[in-house]
């Protein structure tokens, strides 16, 4: 049987690399368009309600307890999973940063850290309290603590999108 007689396989259509390992990392299969598109406003409202409920529940955790640790670790783990497996559409960062403009931020943030560190170093006495010492009484109120947790959750989501 001559080599010319061997039937050739039909040309297969070019296959794109598996999405699961595209870009060298594990990713979920692409989302299929839903048959019934969910109203984005409704989706945001539901997500907002879930986050508010979570914040309220989390604000009720007793400090220094296992639950208090879990209410922080859970959103952290959730955001890590989202960031790795199904990252949201990111807001592109600037190509360059104006150094003079950024220096204002560096001075302000550095001064805040220094102010806090100097209080912390002294053991946050009454005559030089740390920011934590000042905020703690406010966090004793459940609505305020829930609001703080909600802001923290939104900040985490904003960071994942960056």
């Amino acid at each position: 049987m001559a080599a010319d007689d061997v039937p050739l396989w039909p040309d297969l259509p070019p296959q794109e690399p598996s999405r699961r390992w595209r870009l060298g990392r594990l990713a979920l299969p692409p989302r299929r368009p839903s048959r019934r598109p969910v109203n984005p406003a409704l989706r945001k409202a539901v997500a907002g309600a879930v986050l508010i409920a979570y914040s309220w529940f989390a604000a009720g955790a007793v400090p220094f307890s296992r639950n208090a640790l879990l209410i922080v670790l859970l959103p952290g783990a959730a955001l890590a999973v989202i960031a790795c497996l199904r990252p949201p559409k990111r807001i592109p960062p600037p190509d360059r940063l104006d150094l003079a403009g950024f220096s204002y931020w560096a001075v302000a943030v550095g001064a805040l850290f220094e102010w806090e560190a100097s209080a912390f170093k002294d053991g946050a006495p009454r005559w030089h309290p740390a920011l934590t010492t000042l905020i703690d009484p406010a966090l004793g109120s459940r609505p305020l603590k829930a609001a703080g947790i909600l802001i923290w959750l939104f900040a985490g989501w904003a960071l994942v999108r960056r």
Partner: protein, 66 residues
């Protein structure tokens, strides 16, 4: 008591300065980057992204877990 008040005023002034900077950064043709812009720039390398996200996690633990 006076030093306590000075400390609190210092914290308030520095936090206010951050809000003022964000306001100034959002003006048209401002050279000052917004908080999101410079954080995005810092988070371009993976190490920066990891550090910022760990900082966020630490803030949550420090204020809400303890």
């Amino acid at each position: 008591m006076v030093t306590r008040v000075i400390t609190i005023i210092g914290f308030a002034a520095l936090i206010l300065a951050l809000f003022v900077l964000e306001f100034l950064a959002r003006r048209k043709d401002s050279r000052i980057p917004t908080l999101g812009e410079w954080l995005g720039y810092v988070m371009r390398p993976k190490a920066g992204r990891l550090l910022i996200l760990l900082g966020w996690l630490w803030l949550g633990w420090h204020y809400f877990s303890r």
